[in-house]
């Protein structure tokens, strides 16, 4: 998670934003959403408050609260309330900036790039197919959240493999339509990084 945080703050280059712990995970959340148009998501986020816990894994919410009021000494209840309010304001400001930046970026893309970006956001696995696959494997029915989580993970997985394969393709001095050999090499590389789950793997200890 730390790695993800630093890369985002580098991207923004805005020290006031990256300096605050609660703000950065917000940005992380905003950046990573696919499948829901940006405006809709922003409205939803503003409509429902205090969703902070899920966006800041490892309880960094609590840490931020404690750190901020080292200098003030109001009683505990008031302290938390005040911090939530400033947190919310910073959240909204960061969202506004984020949305503005995305708009500028999107308008400066060529048509081909815009097409590709649209495909990137909209492509998804069909939930019915995913559900039947999981249920066949599990032997029993699964909840909706499981299907949602699994579809999201599978898409990220495809992204990792394709990106690695494109990297391989470039290194070998060849051009895009990806060929099976690129994909195989990509999987081999990811395998050694431990990105490919493999229960049947033969564990050889000392080589």
């Amino acid at each position: 998670m730390l790695k993800a945080n630093t890369s985002l703050s580098d991207k923004h280059g805005d020290t006031s934003v990256s300096g605050e712990m609660p703000a950065v995970p917000m940005v992380l959340g905003a950046n990573d959403k696919d499948g829901i148009p940006g405006d809709q998501f922003r409205e939803l986020k503003e409509a429902s408050e205090d969703e902070g816990e899920l966006r800041c894994p490892d309880g960094s919410d609590l840490m931020a609260g404690e750190r901020e009021d080292a200098s003030l000494f109001p009683p505990a209840a008031k302290r938390l309330k005040r911090n939530t309010k400033t947190e919310k304001e910073t959240k909204e400001k960061v969202d506004e900036e984020e949305v503005q930046r995305m708009k500028i970026l999107l308008s400066s893309l060529s048509e081909e790039q815009q097409n590709r970006y649209e495909m990137y956001r909209r492509s998804a696995f069909r939930q019915e197919t995913m559900r039947s696959l999981i249920q066949t494997t599990a032997g029993r029915s699964v909840s909706q959240n499981v299907v949602i989580a699994m579809s999201g993970m599978a898409k990220v997985f495809v992204g990792e493999v394709v990106e690695e394969a494109l990297d391989v393709c470039e290194r070998w001095g060849e051009t895009p339509p990806l060929q099976p050999k690129h994909l195989r090499e990509a999987v081999r590389r990811l395998n050694s990084k431990g990105q490919i789950p493999n229960v049947k793997g033969k564990k050889i200890l000392f080589f």
């Binding site: 998670m1 993800a4 959340g29 990573d32 998501f41 939803l44 986020k45 409509a47 429902s48 969703e51 899920l54 966006r55 894994p57 590709r116 649209e118 495909m119 990137y120 909209r122 492509s123 696995f125 069909r126 197919t129 995913m130 696959l133 999981i134 494997t137 599990a138 029993r140 699964v142 959240n145 499981v146 949602i148 989580a149 699994m150 999201g152 993970m153 599978a154 898409k155 990220v156 997985f157 495809v158 992204g159 493999v161 394709v162 494109l166 895009p176 339509p177 990806l178 060929q179 099976p180 994909l183 195989r184 999987v187 081999r188 050694s192 990105q195 490919i196 789950p197 493999n198 229960v199």
Partner: protein, 124 residues
């Protein structure tokens, strides 16, 4: 070295491409062909990716899903696949972890928004 690592993992794909009579993965209907093509284009491949590549990716995805399902069944509440188990399995992988958390959060918010909207309609 590379061969040893490659062969066990890619046996299935080789058999399938050879059009083997295994009746296993080679004969199964393609579940995600259309979606995978769009996804590959979105992630940087050509607008018309090779069919063999799409097939390989589909096999990889199906293998990924079955592995995760089996792992999720073996931890937490045995024999069941629950979201908490999936999140636990993914904890070391920052991208997938963040993505799953985001999706679940958004889903909750959408449900809440829909519910509030329906109640507002019902009231009026």
């Amino acid at each position: 070295m590379a061969d040893e690592e490659e062969d066990p993992t890619f046996e299935e794909e080789n058999e399938e491409i050879g059009g083997g009579a295994d009746g296993g993965q080679g004969k199964r209907k393609r579940l995600f062909s259309k979606e995978l093509r769009c996804m590959m284009y979105g992630f940087g491949d050509d607008q018309n990716p090779y069919t063999e590549s799409v097939d390989i990716l589909e096999d990889l995805v199906i293998e990924f899903i079955t592995e995760m399902t089996h792992k999720a069944m073996s931890i937490g509440r045995q024999g069941r696949v629950q979201v908490e188990d999936i999140v636990f399995l993914i904890r070391k992988d920052p991208r997938k972890f963040a993505r799953v958390k985001d999706l679940l959060t958004m889903n909750e918010e959408l449900k809440r928004a829909r519910k509030a909207f329906d109640e507002a309609n019902y009231g009026s």
